[in-house]
């Protein structure tokens, strides 16, 4: 991982407003291909807003610069960002009744790859990735997220990550609501994506995912800002000491 001159993703001076309220108050990040960053912070600190805002959620007004593989994508709509290789795994994936996982994924894969994938080839690939994630093949025929359990939804998000092979992915609380077996499967998916050179930012407030996924960089996020950045050891320290000891840093506006 020595691509320091070619980060896959970076953002600078990102501020996000929801209505009148400033929720994200100036964030800078640089992610290299295959690099895993963890953004950890207490509930309500603005982590999810950051992830959704970076992807281009229409309800959020985002200021600052977002760069994907050297190109400025700040003002692009979410579908254009996705076609250029950006991905967001949702904390609460919505249901789309009547649309099967397979037909949705085929449309998404065709859109991202810029060409229709032949049905047979697509099917083979889909079944292989589902097997990697220990998913029943019958899942392909179910309606997207419709009546799925929390764990099933998260697996389908990871399935999409593996099928779409983005350059850069934001994973929003992908570990929440998972039992230990599901957590291991999801972690395996994330590690596979990293080995395919996808740069990733994991947004989480638990340390437990990090037992299975080893981040290169850990950021502590509080009150709309990154207040501290360190290596994997920082996650362990947070697990031990909580977030309170960092409050003064947050109040001071970062390190």
């Amino acid at each position: 991982m020595n691509h320091d001159s070619n980060p896959v993703f970076s953002c600078a001076g990102v501020r996000i407003h929801i209505g009148e309220k400033e929720v994200v108050k100036g964030v800078d990040l640089t992610v290299q291909p295959g690099e895993i960053h963890a953004i950890m912070g207490p509930n309500g600190s603005g982590k999810s807003t950051l992830a959704n805002g970076l992807m281009g959620h229409p309800a959020y007004a985002v200021e600052g610069t977002v760069t994907l593989a050297g190109e400025d994508v700040s003002s692009l709509p979410p579908d254009e960002k996705a076609r250029r290789g950006m991905f967001l795994a949702f904390q609460y994936p919505v249901a789309v009744p009547g649309v099967t996982v397979a037909s949705f994924l085929r449309a998404a894969v065709s859109a991202v790859r810029g060409a229709d994938v032949p049905v047979r080839e697509f099917r083979k690939e889909l079944l292989e990735r589902m097997a990697d994630l220990e998913m029943d093949p019958a899942f392909a025929g179910r309606y997207l997220n419709d009546g799925f359990s929390g764990g099933e939804k998260k697996r389908v998000e990871i399935l999409q990550l593996l099928m779409l092979k983005p350059r850069f992915a934001l994973l929003d609380e992908t570990d929440s609501g998972l039992d230990i077996d599901a957590l291991k499967v999801v972690a395996r998916g994330i590690n596979t994506a990293a080995s395919n050179d996808t740069g990733m930012v994991l947004v989480t407030h638990y340390q437990r995912l990090l037992n299975y996924v080893h981040p290169h960089v850990v950021h502590v996020f509080m009150d709309g800002r990154i207040v501290r950045t360190g290596g994997p050891e920082l996650a362990l320290e947070l697990e031990e000491r909580g977030y309170d000891w960092l409050e003064p840093a947050a109040a001071a506006g970062g390190v």
Binding site: M55, F87, V99
Partner: protein, 472 residues
Amino acid sequence: MASTPTVADIGSDYNRRYGFHDPEEYFMRTPKGLSHEVVEAISLLKKEPEWMREFRHKALDVFLAKPMPTWGDTAMLSEIDFDEITYYVRATEKQETSWDEVPENVKRTFDRLGIPEAERKFLAGVSAQYESEVVYHSVKEELTKQGVIFLDMDSGLREHEDIVRRHFATVIPAADNKFSALNSAVWSGGSFIYVPKNTEVAIPLQAYFRINAERMGQFERTLIIADEGAKVHYIEGCTAPVYSTNSLHSAVVELIAMKGARIRYTTIQNWSNNIYNMVTKRAVAHEDAVVEWVDGNIGSKLTMKYPAVILKGERAHGEVLSIAFAGPGQHQDAGAKMTHLAPNTTSKITSKSISKGTGRSSYRGLVKVRKGAHGCKTSVQCDALLIGGAARTDTYPTMEIAEDQVRVEHEARVSKIGDEQLFYLRSRGIRDDQARLMIVNGFIEPFVKELPMEYAVELNRLIELEMEGSVG
């Protein structure tokens, strides 16, 4: 209406003006407007038996006496001018319409749907009929072997008068409503089907297969009888837009499912947007019989249609699965009626509607359970999807339950294409318009999967056309 001759006038110069004395040679069409003379002319031309002639005349009296419905879209209803309609046009007459007169948007849709030339002209009302003779012949042979009768209604009356007389208007009497009375007075064309005991018709019967059929009529009349243990699926209409210069379509469809019989009746209605589509559809289901209405309404200006099942025999089951698409300027007022007369009967209504732009859709339903019809189950589910701020949807569900031991479920949902759904799909690279279409197609999926393959494909393509330009 000074220019319209009075009833007496029409009668007095009929022979001179219309060659009425020799209908075969000279009769082409009735004059505009409705009168006993017009009804007489239709019946005479068809050389009908006396009872049918009388039936028509009585029905006309009922029609003239009945007021227009005071419910539904009364504003749109009041725009129907009964004096401006031609009630009968002989099928073999060269149509007045020429291809050049067919509106551009209808032609364009034919193009996009890939409708063959001959079929286009039929659908646009330019040619008198469209026949697929090769297909028809093999179908006909098979049916004849089984003893199945499949004719247009006029031929049915001529060739099987006894069966027709026994059942005609027994499910929907002329006096049922103003439009059933109108149809009873001037009906022409439609299908007549009789399936003998324990006979299963393997392929869906379609009006297309009928040879020498009258052109898909303004006032078609269909009667389907499935004898004990028989099974049949009938498909009416098509996904291509059907253009007509005559603005009123008022059909009557009667189904009779004898003990243990199954009838499915599938409709895809796509009349052009100048048509008032007033249809009365009702079935009787005897003991252990199953009747299913699969009803799709895409076109027309105003549709009022509430397919009904009278559950007359114990354990009979009735089902209505419908979708309506109301684009700008359209009102789809559709629904269902279930009448539980016998114990342990079951019914299910699933109604889905999409309103786009200024389009308006209404669900209007009635579930009735008679005292003594214990052990009945009924479920009603209405889902409405709104696209754009001006679209409108209403539900008018009515339940009249006179029995305690019944299980009733009712659920109504209205949704919009949600920002969160769109964002989710778009974050996977899917473009905004494709994402919207995907959501709409998902919404109607439970309906589409009940259609034969070629209809399903066509319907999806049609919805795609209807959705174009709906962004924002």
